[in-house]
Amino acid sequence: MQNQIIDALRTIVGQEHILTSPEDLYSYSYDATPGHQHLPEVVVLPGKTEEVSKILKIANENKIPVYTRGSGTNLSAGTCPTKGGIVMVMTRLNKIIELDSANLIAICEPGVIVMDLNTAAAEFGLIYPPDPGTVKTATLGGTVAENAGGLRGLKYGVTKHYVMGMEVVLANGDVMNCGGKNVKDVAGYDMTKLFTGSEGTLGVITKLIVKLVPAPEAKKSMMAIFKNLDDAGNTVSGIIANKIIPATLEIMDNATIKVVEDYAKVGLPLDAEAVLLIEVDGNPIVVEQEAEKVLAVLKENNAFSVQVAKTPAEVDKLWAARRASLPALNKLNTTIFCEDATVPRSMVPKFLRAVEDIAKKHKVLIGTFGHAGDGNMHPTLVCDIRNKEEMERVYAAMDEMFSTAVSLGGTLSGEHGIGLGKLQWMELQHGTTGMNAMKAIKRALDPNLILNPGKLVGEC
């Protein structure tokens, strides 16, 4: 990159907020995705929308790639600066501008940490429901750009259901506002939805208007162990058929159960084919009634053992196994690929059995856990990325896994995003027509292809 461009960027953000040393550049060459790393040429940390606008104008005129990022916790290489250029870190824009309890709205800068928004909302008895595993570290802007999900997807939906509007800087530096505080708003294309989940390829979000909902008054957590996977699957369908929508409905497969038991010794039987974690929330009276019905469904479907938490400490204990899933798998080797292939709810048992077969066939350790209620599975592949022979088998297993998900009517990604990690399977899911339509949108909004180029829809 020419020195005069770096100087211009320095003038925009100030000496303190531009990083150019080889060490600093290296520390922005990765995100939380294994296997993707590339050095940027400069890192800038803007503090205002106007600065973002000026940076994009320079980048657009000089056709320099721009990689926008928050905390860099994504699992799809979405923020890896694969073509060098500028990494733009949004974490300095971290103010909660307004909490409007009359309209149940929060207006935030994109660098606000999701948990901080929830802490602020809690004072009004409200919650911002999307809760990806990274709530304590991920930025709101990042979770909107990735359209992140979480544990409560079944009942509360995902990020896109909460984004009401935004301020976004377009590739040429122009600042656009879309959406607003209105519950109903059909004026024009739904640009808010378009930018939500666009993974930094269409614009840079500089302000967000998000919806809040009243916090549930009561919760009840249960854990059930199954000797047969189909019984667990039937339980999930049975709960929904009884018109109960639990806030969380989590599943762990046999491979995960074995690893977790070995690591955390939480008392799970090693021959269990599935564990379900169920939480119902809402009005205290309704919660009790729903919990009763869930217990009946568990009994009908041959749950081997059922535990109901009576105190917060017991809730914590029930969650210990699920919480230990990722660390326990991680302990086994140096690299883990935590994927998020998703299938319609009714296909979960079929998908889990398929993953088990794929793991055996390619001799790869895959533990699967995830959100059974919304079909969002996390098949987690344990390996060592430095072992070439093993990685060939890992990638072959991944290929078969994603094809299986798509063939079951599922999707490549429930909540982590496509980025680079799953790009190669996009055409499989969307076909040429679908890809061309998406690429046309990309080219229309970013004609010089400077925004996170090569990601999500690939080269244009």
Binding site: P22, E23, Y26, L45, G72, T134
Partner: protein, 439 residues
């Protein structure tokens, strides 16, 4: 044949200094969970300030991208060793230990910073160190002005390497160990313990040492303070001077082995951690030394832990201490030796004492031992958050179990115009026993 050293040669040599932790570094999944708990990252907000970034930088050296450079050194220095990253890592990566390894590589590749080099040179010679700090105590009043609060002083004129407004602990004219015979006897002793005083208590906060002795005497425990004991070595070790740290460890192991005692106690989280965890770990490749270190480790307790778990201290002679007290858990207490319950039990046993928890009591106060010397501005910013949490409790007294935390929080209270005072937990118990005598 060319003798010229190329950049590649430097990179290769620096790689060799870190190659043994290649696998340990690879275990970091880069999830970034450490960002949620790192006090340094909260202030600086850049990747190189948090564990994920620091571990990545070591991988950068290993990949030959850059050598162990001045920037690498700076990044490794930006850590208060509070262990919050390690305690919260879902992958179980011992990031704090790996950062010390990074510092060790810096020392080998580039040498120590000149200030640390001089301080450690002095530390190396036990007698000279003792003399220098005693002189500091004798001549201290000339250069430091006492503040109207216990154990707080401010420099009368600019001191090299110190912020002019900063409040520190005054060095005492007579160190603790010179105030007492080596063995402090009691009638009918029920046990005999060796007291590892550590430097802050011996030379500065002698009031804490006096309280330890008073409390143990009140419980019929004979106290011996081995005269040859020396700095635990933690400041040197965490700066990356691993070999010098080992020399200190060996000296202390040899010293304490010579005494026939039931237990070894210390009144500082870091000092206790040195005996309890670090010494055996330091000698993991030397079976004989490791066995000797482990033998002492098993006997070592932090004072509150000892009083509650071993001694079952007497509560029938306690008198009232009428004060509202909150507690700051030093990093090496909370995440090092994991002792947070016992100091609270001690405080709650004191009649009249109203205990109030502050928000996040185990969040680092920003001192980081010698970190605050090199980076006073950052450590002040971290500390201001702690002071706000303390102010939120309306407590009159902040209890803690670490000398450097006490010093840094005292400084923070003065800088933020707050009246609360800081004491070691044991001082409040001592006060309570004294109040009981008056009854």
């Amino acid at each position: 044949m060319s003798n010229e050293i190329t950049a590649k040669d430097v990179n290769e040599q620096d790689k060799a200094l870190l190659i043994d932790i290649d696998n340990a570094l690879a275990n970091c999944s880069k999830c970034g969970g450490c960002m949620a708990v790192c006090p340094m990252f909260k202030e600086l907000g850049v990747e190189a300030s948090v564990a994920r970034g620091k571990l990545a930088l070591m991988q950068g050296v290993l990949s030959g991208t850059f050598p162990i450079s001045a920037n690498f050194d700076k990044a490794m220095g930006l850590c208060v060793s509070c262990k919050a990253c390690t305690a919260n890592c879902p992958c179980g990566v011992p990031a704090d230990e790996l950062i010390v390894r990074g510092r060790q590589a810096v020392v080998k590749a580039r040498g120590l910073s000149p200030i640390k080099k001089n301080v450690f040179k002095l530390l190396q010679n036990r007698q000279l160190f003792d003399l220098a700090l005693r002189a500091a105590g004798l001549f201290g009043p000339l250069s430091f002005k006492k503040l109207p609060r216990p154990m707080a002083a401010i420099a009368r004129f600019p001191m090299p390497g110190m912020d002019a407004k900063r409040v520190t602990a005054p060095f005492q004219a007579t160190p603790l160990r010179n105030q007492y015979p080596e063995t402090v006897k009691v009638d009918n002793p029920k046990m005999r313990v060796a007291f590892f005083t550590g430097c802050t208590i011996n030379y500065a906060y002698t009031d804490v040492g006096q309280s330890v002795i008073n409390v143990l005497k009140a419980n019929n425990v004979e106290v011996v303070m081995p005269s040859m004991q020396h700095c635990c070595g933690t400041p040197v070790f965490t700066s990356g001077e691993v070999d010098l740290g080992k020399t200190f460890a060996k000296h202390n192991i040899e010293t304490f082995e010579r005494y026939d005692v039931d237990y070894i106690i210390a009144a500082c989280g870091s000092c206790t951690e040195a005996f309890k965890l670090e010494y055996p770990h330091m000698f993991k490749d030397d079976a004989a030394m490791k066995a000797r270190a482990e033998k002492l480790s098993k006997k070592t307790y932090e004072i509150s832990e000892f009083l509650v778990d071993v001694l079952k201290f007497r509560t029938d002679t306690l008198g009232p201490v009428n004060a509202t007290v909150t507690m700051h858990d030093p990093c090496h207490m909370a995440r090092g030796i994991k002792v947070t319950r016992q100091p609270r039990e001690v405080l709650k046993a004191i009649p009249g004492l109203n205990f109030v928890e502050m928000k996040a009591p185990d969040r680092c106060c920003g001192s980081g031992g010698s970190f605050s010397l090199a980076h006073y501005d950052i450590s002040r910013q971290i500390n201001d958050k702690k002071i706000a949490d303390i102010a939120g409790t309306n407590a009159d007294i902040v209890a803690t179990s670490c000398g450097t935390c006490r010093m840094h929080i005292t400084d923070g209270l003065v800088q933020n115009n707050k009246d609360a005072q800081v004491f070691h937990v044991i001082q409040l118990l001592d006060k309570s026993y004294k109040a009981g005598e008056k009854k």
